[in-house]
Amino acid sequence: MNTTVAGISYRAVIGRRRIWLLLLLPLVLIGLAVLLRLVGSADEATAGTLLSTFAIGTMLPLTGLIAGTGVIGPEIDDGTIVHLLAKPIPRPVIALTKFLVAASLLAVFAALPTYVAAWLLVRNEENIAVGFGLGALVGGIAYAAVFLLLGTLTRHAVTIGLAYALVWEGLVGGLVPGARQFSVQQWANAIADRLSGSAFVGTDVTLGFAIPALIIVTVGALLWTGQRLRSFSVTGDE
């Protein structure tokens, strides 16, 4: 962890008006929760649906994409990353720092709003708020690592990340049960499902699979990012 790298990364992602990108979906989520509460449909079933499809299914991957690729992608695109890399700092430390920045942003802009929305809907009934809050936190950590890696692998990280989140996790995952096993979103749902006692939250991914998968994906992506940065090349325009 390097505080100077972290400081620059935070400013790059949330500086100026870019924070609104991260705030948009959490505000929609909380707004929906408030609305449901006001019209009196804040029951367990509605909460389960809203949290698993919108909070975990939409807000978490999209926010993850903004934060994960945002802490490194633009810097690689415009070449400013060289300022950080041409320093006597091990590159994996830079990768780790960027990851921690992205993960902390997701804790604030995804996990916390998920908890707040759940609490607004059903208070702490059946541990739903805690379950989804934790699920979003752990899923957010994995997304941070995966999308950070994606940001170092390709200039089209946002497009590919969107395709993964929407097509693979959303569409294919909805139709093909097997695909659900390989979906960060489903792993996050599995945690929410097991922690809350609600019958309205369901997933066919077991905790025994989800937890090792989350750890392997996160650690693996992080190590790979470190290696990518160690071999970071500037090819120039020639």
């Binding site: 300022h83 950080l84 590159r91 500037v234 120039g236 020639e238």
Partner: protein, 318 residues
């Protein structure tokens, strides 16, 4: 950040960059072809036309590109995948982009902190003073002119007083005053025993600053020497002139009588003269014309662009 152990200070001895048979290719395209050179203290100019492989070479020296073949080292240590080497290196990349949301002061200070200097504030202050950017240091970099950005990049690169400074086309886009100032700065650092390499496609620029010149053409190391040597090799070559006159045929006959004209041909639009001895030919032409009673309307060098000068150099070096 504050309680960290102060790392060993950078070595203060002279630094040597050594390239041995270094090549770099991208697929079928060879960007740098079998370059061997040793660069020691003082200012070395890397001269060549655009696309000659200068940036590729500098990127390899800076550890931002792996050589496809050969070895590249700094004081005997490899540069590629060796983050420790940056204690010795300051890098000023060609790309203009810097963190626009930071002020000049924050940018240079961040560089000092990333180097874990014992007194980053003092180091940043000194570096900004060296490039005369104190007045604008509290403005965001995005408000800077191109020359100011360049200077703040130089300040960030030299904040740790590196033994080696690598600059990619550093004078591009600067106004004349800023250019002169940066040139003086680079010269002074070279005189102080730093090893400085900068790339440029402008001979005059390199001549002014560099004590030593390495010429790159089409990925190959075409020539090496001080500027007098390079200048001589560039002027001491057959020159091609286009001449238009009142009587081309008569002028052609008069010119070919002298040994300084190697070949004369009549083209539709005038004469093409291959001058073997540049100085004698330029002295000779007006006199011959006058004696022959021919009026010369136009004399223009047909191959004065850098590209053809360089390609001549490379055909001679092989």
């Amino acid at each position: 950040m504050t309680a960290q152990a102060v790392p060993t200070p950078p070595a203060t001895g002279p630094a040597t960059v050594e390239l041995r048979q270094v090549s770099r290719w991208y697929g079928n395209v060879v960007a740098v072809n079998d370059v061997t050179m040793t660069i020691g203290p003082g200012v070395t100019g890397l001269l060549g036309p655009n696309g000659a492989g200068k940036s590729t070479l500098l990127n390899m020296m800076a550890g931002f590109l792996a050589p496809s073949g050969g070895t590249l080292s700094l004081n005997g240590r490899p540069v590629w995948r060796n983050h420790d080497i940056y204690r010795l290196i300051g890098l000023v990349p060609e790309r203009e982009a810097v963190y626009g949301f930071l002020t000049g002061w924050q940018f240079v200070l961040s560089s000092a902190k990333l180097h874990r200097l014992p007194d980053p504030v003092e180091a940043a202050r000194r570096a900004l003073a060296t490039v005369e950017m104190e007045a604008a240091k509290d403005r965001r970099i995005e408000t800077y002119s191109k020359g100011m950005r360049q200077r703040v990049k130089v300040a960030a690169a030299m904040v740790h007083d590196p033994q080696v400074l690598l600059l990619d086309e550093p004078f591009n886009g600067m106004d004349p005053r800023q250019r002169l100032h940066l040139m003086d700065l680079v010269k002074a650092m070279g005189a102080a025993g730093k090893t400085i390499v900068f790339s440029s496609h402008i001979l005059e620029e390199v001549e002014r600053v560099a004590g030593h010149i390495e010429v790159m053409v089409a990925g190959r190391h075409a020539a090496s020497g001080d500027f007098r040597e390079i200048r001589r090799r560039m002027t001491d070559r057959p020159h091609l002139f286009k001449v238009r006159s009142s009587d081309d045929r008569r002028l052609a006959a008069a010119l070919i009588a002298d040994a300084s004209a190697g070949a004369v041909s009549l083209a539709g639009t005038g004469l093409e003269v291959q001058a073997v001895d540049f100085r004698r030919f330029t002295w000779l032409l007006p006199r011959v014309a006058r004696d022959a009673g021919v009026r010369v309307w136009e004399v223009s060098p047909a191959d004065e662009d850098l590209e053809s000068v360089f390609s001549y150099l490379i055909t001679r070096s092989t």
